[in-house]
């Protein structure tokens, strides 16, 4: 639809189909309508201006005239009366707009947004309760630090000569790190002294497997 603003027409025939007139003035003009897209007049001024129908629009009046002559004058008078009163019968009303493709259904949008907020708040509440509140509540209720009690029969037994055992373990580990040996002889995996391994990495870089 073409929009025409603040235009003044004087002494002209203006075809109005499909136009949106805003703040226009028509002085001694003839508005021609041919049955196309309805024109819209916003804050327009009409002075000594007539109307002329052409094509399909003209045929519409001719059709009513034909029905009038065929004896349906009561029906035709009813139509003319409705036009004068600005009333349209249900069958004559424009089709309702497809709400799925036109405009924004703000009510539905608001409902969807509210639902999303509610779900988000609920999820966050459960996360907070599970992570923060419930453990804290347990600790506060018991009035003691949280601890796990281990039955005595599964606790490790420490040897009486703990120091000697510790020293021997240290020697054994030192020997393990400083000597060659097999990790898995069947698969051909061996170990080398850790100092040699360090030097090899410095010389050759990290191995790629």
């Amino acid at each position: 639809m073409a929009t025409i603003k603040n235009q003044r027409y004087a002494g002209k025939s203006v075809v109005v189909d499909g136009n949106h007139y805003i703040g226009c003035a028509f002085v001694q003009c003839t508005l021609i309508y041919r049955g196309g897209e309805m024109p819209v007049f916003d804050r327009c001024d009409f002075r000594s201006t007539g109307v002329q129908l052409e094509d399909a629009a003209s045929d519409t009046i001719a059709y009513l005239n034909r029905l009038y002559g065929a004896g349906l004058w009561t029906n035709v008078e009813g139509v003319l009366d409705n036009v004068k009163q600005g009333r349209l019968a249900a069958a004559d009303r424009p089709e309702p707009c497809d709400r799925s493709t036109e405009g924004t259904n703000f009510a539905r949008l608001g409902l969807a947004a509210g639902l999303m907020v509610a779900v988000t708040v609920l999820v966050m509440f459960f996360i907070w309760y599970g992570l923060m509140y419930a453990p804290q509540e347990e600790r506060l209720n018991q009035d003691q630090p949280i601890r796990v009690e281990i039955p005595l029969d599964v606790m490790p037994v420490l040897p009486d000569d703990l120091a000697a055992v510790y020293d021997q373990t240290y020697v054994d580990q030192e020997d393990f790190l400083a000597t060659y040996g097999w990790i898995d002889e069947a698969d051909g995996i061996a170990r080398i002294p850790v100092d040699e391994a360090i030097q090899r990495v410095l010389d050759e870089g990290l191995p790629t497997f």
Binding site: M38, A70, W73, V83, G86, A91
Partner: protein
């Protein structure tokens, strides 16, 4: 455009799209005559009983256009056009 021709038919309680059709010796009983602004139909020796008139397409837009203009200070011009529906041609 060649018009369709319908003869000796009874239309009962249905919506009949009348554009571009010549009706000869037809009966319309409780039917709705729907006109969309196409080629004018003709009715020869037809009977009408309890019919209603419906308008679609260009015809509907024309009537709405006239109604809109009439409400915006162009009453005289519109009424002259509507009177044309009653005039003998």
């Amino acid at each position: 455009m060649m018009m369709d021709e319908v003869k000796d038919k009874i239309f009962r309680g249905e919506v009949v799209t009348v554009d571009n059709t010549a009706y000869i010796n037809c009966d319309f009983e409780g039917a709705a005559l729907l006109y969309n602004g196409g080629t004018l139909p003709t009715f020869e020796k037809c009977q009408f009983e309890d019919v209603t008139l419906q308008f679609g397409g260009s015809a509907s837009r024309t009537l709405r256009f006239l109604g809109q203009l009439r409400g915006s200070s162009m009453t005289g011009a519109v009424d002259r056009i509507l009177d044309g529906a009653r005039m003998k041609r």
